[in-house]
């Protein structure tokens, strides 16, 4: 039997979750205020996932950057690969929030989306 504690990152409550588990699939959580906590811990033990936010360069815009984010989590160890993809993108103003820049990044159920409007420079 193994014991670990986690701080859930799903919402600002940041529950401290104590988990008891073994390699045969036994798994018991304590301290989470909602079921999302249990799912988070299970993910952390098997395949940790994260979302990520950054920005991309915009040419001819009122701002030099448009913020972007993944709308779903990807494996934690692919975060820096995602950053590489993000850095390679260059957009032209105007840019609309919600635009999908990369659909299903690396085949995961996660799109890279623009999160702000950038109008053309006046």
């Amino acid at each position: 039997m193994k014991n670990r504690t986690f701080t859930c990152i799903i919402c600002p409550n940041g529950c401290d979750i104590a988990v008891e588990y073994d390699d045969e699939g036994y798994f018991r959580c304590e301290g989470n205020l909602c079921p999302k906590g249990e799912k988070y811990v299970l993910n952390e033990l098997t395949a940790p996932q994260r979302t990520i936010s950054s920005s991309v360069v915009v040419d001819g815009g009122e701002l030099p950057l448009a913020s972007v984010r993944l709308n779903g989590p990807v494996p934690k160890d692919r975060i820096f690969d995602v950053m590489k993809e993000i850095r390679a993108i260059r957009l032209k103003a105007p840019v609309k929030a919600g635009t999908v820049l990369i659909k299903n990044i690396f085949g995961f159920d996660s799109d890279l989306i623009v999160t702000r409007n950038v109008e053309k420079k006046a």
């Binding site: 600002p12 994260r50 950057l65 913020s67 409007n117």
Partner: protein, 427 residues
């Protein structure tokens, strides 16, 4: 001479029902809620070129979980409120800095097309907050470049596409500092460590997890920067352990080479205008003393959001600003029920609680009191008394200063005009 005549001499005072100072999350939410209550003659004055306030540079996600049930970035969260303001055709002026506010609700502002003067029936203060700068800490040492507050670094990187450094040390475990630790790491900088003078973190636990632990950035509690070293550019900081008295312990100094120091050492409500108007501030929050309607000590001047007290979640800023709309509209159409005066019953706290907002109530309405515990504790019982009578209580499994708490007091619970006290003890 001509300009003088047109600009100042012949300046016409425009009348407005409500002037909102600041077009960030609080101002936008207050404007929409007021509009929906039937107060349509509203003008938002915003200093920056665009609405949205600080959310524009908060590109990380996690906003809106309680409000919209989904996680949004700052610009998206702001975008929804900006859209709501535009749909309602609420007036706003950007690049317009309010330079004076008097206790008669007369607002003077410097706009792109000159000086403006407004006479408002009610003024809503939603100016947000500022970061505590290096000067506020009095760290000894040199004055090289490379020392930034977290929000300034965030603005450089997220709005202006300018990297701030390659090797960073972060002082203070505030949320923005931790979020910048992650941001810097993602953009290729090395973040050596985060130092916190207190024996516990000042930011949210989830940020310690996802911004520091995820990237192997160590957090040192009870440590602080005691010297800044460098000629033109920062070359290192000296870090010392601090004792229980928060004073550096001699002999524990260690030098950390770095080219960038990020300060995340607290936010202070921006209340210069409030003071001009004679609004009485609370020494604990550094924001106005307000009643349950959000009204300050100056009748007709209201406040909400980070200008009132620094929030950890924007979702609560929006709620607070929306709630204030009720009080503002009651004030504007006063039916002689005492809505023109600030409420009289004080809310006090014991030494375990940092502050409450509001600080005053009428005893006639349901009230939600926001407060922060002064130190971390487990299974803490928070109680509200009036005299010897217990009005309500609430047990919190994990109470930490980083997380603002709320307690509801139903109107019928109030029994007298006596002072209300919020206290806490172990379960």
């Amino acid at each position: 001479m001509d300009v003088y005549r047109k600009g100042a001499w012949m300046m016409i005072t425009e009348h407005r029902n409500v002037i909102i100072i600041g077009g960030g999350p609080a101002g936008l939410a207050a404007a929409c809620a007021l509009y929906d209550k039937g107060v349509k003659d509203i003008l938002i004055l915003e200093r920056e070129p665009r609405l949205g306030g600080i959310l524009n540079q908060c590109i990380h996600d996690g906003f809106g979980l309680s409000r919209f049930g989904e996680t949004l970035s700052g610009p998206e969260y702001a975008g929804r409120f900006i859209e709501a303001v535009r749909q309602r055709k609420i007036d706003y002026i950007t690049e317009c800095t309010v330079i004076n506010l008097d206790n008669n609700k007369c607002v003077t502002a410097a706009a792109q097309d000159g000086l403006k003067k407004y006479q408002a029936d009610a003024v809503i203060l939603t100016m947000g907050c500022r970061e505590r700068p290096r000067g506020g800490l009095a760290i000894p040492g040199d004055r090289p470049s490379g020392v930034f507050t977290a929000g300034v670094a965030q603005s450089y990187m997220n709005l202006h596409n300018t990297m701030v450094g390659k090797k960073a040390v972060i002082l203070g475990s505030g949320d923005i500092g931790m979020i910048m630790a992650r941001r810097l790491t993602l953009e290729g900088a090395k973040v050596e460590a985060v130092f916190e003078i207190l024996p516990y973190p000042s930011g949210l636990p989830r940020n310690i997890e996802q911004c520091l632990n995820d990237y192997g950035i160590p957090l040192y509690l009870s440590h602080t920067v005691t010297r800044i070293n460098g000629k033109a550019r920062l070359s290192s900081v000296t870090v010392s352990e601090v004792g229980r008295d928060m004073k550096p312990i001699k002999g524990t100094e260690k030098e950390w080479p770095c080219d960038t120091l990020i300060l995340s050492v607290g936010l202070i409500p921006e209340n210069e205008l409030s003071l001009q108007a004679g609004v009485v501030l609370d020494g604990r929050t550094k924001g106005a003393i307000v009643d349950e309607n959000g009204m300050t000590s100056v009748p007709g001047i209201f406040a909400a959001g980070n200008v009132l007290h620094v929030h950890d979640l924007v979702d609560f800023v929006s709620l607070e600003a929306e709630k204030l709309a009720e009080g503002v509209s009651a004030y504007l159409q006063d039916a002689g029920e005492g809505n023109q005066k600030t409420c009289a019953i004080d809310i006090q706290t014991d030494e375990t609680i940092g502050y409450t907002v509001p600080q005053k109530v009428s005893g006639k309405k349901d009230v939600t009191v926001s407060f922060r515990p002064k130190f971390p504790s487990q299974n803490r019982v928070f109680e509200v008394y009036q005299g010897d009578r217990l009005l309500t209580r609430k047990t919190v499994r994990k109470a930490i200063p980083a997380v603002m708490l709320h307690i509801d007091i139903p109107a019928e619970k109030f029994v007298s005009e006596e002072t209300v006290r919020v206290v806490s003890h172990e379960e």
